[in-house]
Amino acid sequence: METSAAARVHPSPRKILDSVVIRFAGDSGDGMQLTGSQFTTATAMAGNDLATFPDFPAEIRAPAGTTYGVSGFQIHFAAHDIRTPGDAPDVLVAMNPAALMVNIDALEPGGLVVINTGAFNKNNLAKAGYEESPLDDGSLDPFRVLAIDITKMTLESVKGSGLGSKDAQRCKNMWTLGLMYWLFGRERESTVRWLEKKFAKNPKVAEANIAALNAGHIYGENAELPHGIGAYQVPAAKLEPGEYRNISGNEATAWGLVTGARLAGLEIVYGSYPITPASNLLHNLARLKQFGVTTFQAEDEIAAVSAAVGASFGGAIGITGTSGPGVALKSEAIGLAIATELPLVIVDVQRGGPSTGLPTKTEQSDLFQAVWGRNGDAPLAVLAAATPGDCFYMAVEALRIAVKYMTPVMLLTDGYLANGAEPWHLPDIDALEPFPVKFHEDPEGFMPFMRDKDSLARVWAIPGTPGLEHRIGGLEKQQDTGHISYDPANHHMMTKLREAKVQRIAKDFPKAAIDQGDPRGDMLVVGWGSTYGAISQAVRMLREQGRKVSHLHLRNIWPLPEGVGDLLRSFGSVLVPELNNGQLVKLLRAEYLVDAESLTKIAGQPFRIGELVEAVEERLNRSLQ
């Protein structure tokens, strides 16, 4: 499915906007996620750059009308390149009172609220915690309000469809989508086609939904909208030419792992135990069995990683994915993979902690655990993806390092990356360098812990190979032979060797380089992981204001790439914004003895660009005083 969508021009006179943030909000049953993703597709086709983020309720299916049952979907689209789903919505679509209650505080004065008055009955108002209707009490005065009885409009539009009232009501998200399409000049075809396909077995439903969609659009065209509300246009962005798709982090990770395994010439055994927000990594991979992927839904996280270790011993690439609490459980077995020097990829889709914490919210608080959370001196490589699309490349890279260095690699993503989505310029698969694994086969002089002089990786000799029979285990091993050894000097040497091997990986990395800005200046903002978009936008704004601020984003957490220390020392100050209580900052301070300052946000939510800009400004101004 591919459609060319570059630079369409809309005939009607529309107000030109540079960028817009819309938040669709409604009850879990209102279909807000579908609405959002349809709007995303149409927006991508209109040539805007965009970023999206869903906001699921924590409950599986909360009672209708409650505030904790509100489901949201935010999309940010623009005529230039953007990297976050936006700090605050310009437009809020509130399908019921609870949705309004939960989201209205996020809207800036002057923002547009689209309200389905049909849902503003006494019962729903009470459930949302309103004593009086906000439609009447003046509390919406600061905003531009478009109040429509969408329920009634929808029912009318699908009258002839023969649907029962419940099913007919379900179409109201499509009515709303139609209206939004009109407001922002989007084409309806892709949604129409999608509806036809989705309800192929139930054409009545498809037709009704299409009717509602069209009716909403027509309403926009014809109705006299309140003063100050009109049709808008966000011109297409200048995107690099090529083929695009929308991609979420967990999709990208799954596909990156499959691609990496292809480049290595290996089959995948993915052992996992479901956990939010990593579960759909398992779901995505379970659908790819034809790619030589075996998914093993284990009885727990320990079994999941253990199976992956066993698979790597057997000559597949063992992979395991989970979130923070799962990594905690896996740490003993990860130590085994470190001691036996087997390749292993661990994906940690981080979420709010400690303990069960905020399972559906994002956070970056597993960095310490990733780098240092094991018994003994147990080094492994740690990578962090910066954007949803970057998850693809980092997954490939994790696999490459694991097999080249015979080491476990931890790939850190997070809930924000996992569920967030962005348009992704499809990579040229043929241009990716293969890294085919060669299993050792020659019995001549074979010893299971003999190593490549360069990478320090030990040989990978797998069961089934005649003449290479050998035993490995978690006890300390004698250099080369791998026999159990209690020799003191050997243990010291092997510990240093395991460390050296992991440190050596840094030689594969390009020297650390500034992502944005000059290589010296007043302040270096150092980020890692999913804060990439927000930091990058903030630094751009600051630089536009003339601030001498630069952005360094680390995708290799451990080992750190060469040159980081020099960069840190080239700036007047260093600020490390993290969605945790200050973890990378400790690593940097310990490694480079630079007085890097921590900026923390532990709220289960990404940084807003604005708060980053403010934090930097405040510090720069302070240091000027």
Binding site: K289, S306, P463
Partner: protein, 337 residues
């Protein structure tokens, strides 16, 4: 076994590694090692296609002494690691070596799940009713009252009955033997031939920390009175002169020990062993004053790793040749010019 496995006839020696065996003198593990090394060549195994996976414990040192592939892993996780290995390469003949602590204490959950999934493995549980390696604490199979360093006034934990646990986990093959038994190789061979997870509890003497717990059963003299060797299709007879047997009490649904020729009991009263009978197997797990040995239960069932392989093939049939480029283009794409 891979089809082009060499036809070379292996011997017991080919399966013995060059590592010095480091169990305590007199440990029952020696006899089990010898039995395993003896049967592998006869079963057509090759050192390269055979793998021993163990956890941690005295018994878990086992792989080091086999000239096959081996993995001495971490405490309790051998069944999970073996599952992963078997998924990576189903052609391998994979044996799991575990102890009563390794398999039934820390590793109980993995044992449960590997059994119910019916992964094609042989699982040898060395039951010495003690934690050997950590120097003698009571284990989940220790009897109540056992005095050990961690139970100075006697253990108060009701023990696990391994065979009962295995049946509760829906195992498809459950057997029992003991370290020095002449018939251990036969039972191991039965296990090897079973498709799916074959569970064998092997009573094993630990002369250092739990000497003689099984003496009544395993002693040459007293043994016959306590050993009921099960033979499929044969009446359940035992005793020094085979004079005893098991009779079903239909009221209590239990098996009772009777003496043929006494009180009018005849051979016809003795229950015939049926390996496929789950209820019978259950009753055999814990008998009054006699221990059932040999195969308690054997019933073919779908093998996990085979089902996984089939599904992977099905996926290939259904979704065609894997193509990463097409994968990246599933759903909706667009072009910017």
């Amino acid at each position: 076994m891979s089809p082009n496995a060499p036809k070379k006839k292996y011997t017991r020696k080919d399966f013995s590694s060059d590592q010095e065996v480091r169990w305590c003198p007199g440990c029952g593990d020696y006899a089990i090692l010898a039995a395993v090394q003896r049967i592998l060549p006869d079963l057509g195994g090759t050192p390269e296609n055979t793998v021993f996976i163990s956890g941690i414990g005295c018994s878990s040192r086992f792989p080091y002494y086999m000239n096959t592939y081996g993995f001495h892993t971490i405490h309790g996780r051998a069944p999970a690691i073996a599952t992963g290995l078997k998924l990576a390469n189903p052609e391998l003949d994979v044996w799991v070596i575990t102890g009563d602590g390794d398999g039934l204490s820390i590793g109980g959950n993995h044992l449960l799940h590997v059994l119910r999934r019916n992964v094609d493995l042989q699982i040898l549980l060395f039951n010495n009713q003690i934690y050997g390696l950590t120097k003698g604490q009571y284990s989940p199979t220790s009897q109540v009252g056992k005095v050990t360093p961690s139970s100075p006034l006697g253990s108060v934990d009701q023990p696990v009955v391994p065979a009962r646990f295995a049946l509760g986990a829906c195992a498809t093959f459950v057997a029992r033997s003991y370290d020095t038994s002449k018939r251990l190789p036969e039972t191991l061979t039965d296990a090897r031939k079973h498709d799916g997870a074959a569970f064998i509890e092997i009573l094993q003497n630990c002369p250092v920390f739990n000497d003689g717990v099984f003496d009544l059963i395993t002693d040459r003299k007293t043994g016959p009175a306590y050993q009921l060797w099960l033979e499929n299709g044969q009446p359940m007879r035992f005793g020094a002169n085979g004079e005893k047997g098991l009779r079903m009490n239909p009221e209590t649904l239990t098996l009772e020990v009777v003496t043929v020729g006494e009180d009018g009991i005849t051979e016809a009263d003795i229950v015939i062993h049926d390996e496929t009978n789950l209820s019978l197997a259950w009753m055999l797990t814990d008998l009054p004053g006699v221990v059932a040995l040999g195969v308690l239960y054997r019933q073919p069932g779908p093998v996990y790793n085979e089902s996984v392989t089939k599904q992977r093939e099905l996926a290939k049939e259904r979704f065609g040749e894997p193509d990463i480029k097409a994968l990246l283009r599933t759903g909706h794409t667009w072009t910017v010019v």
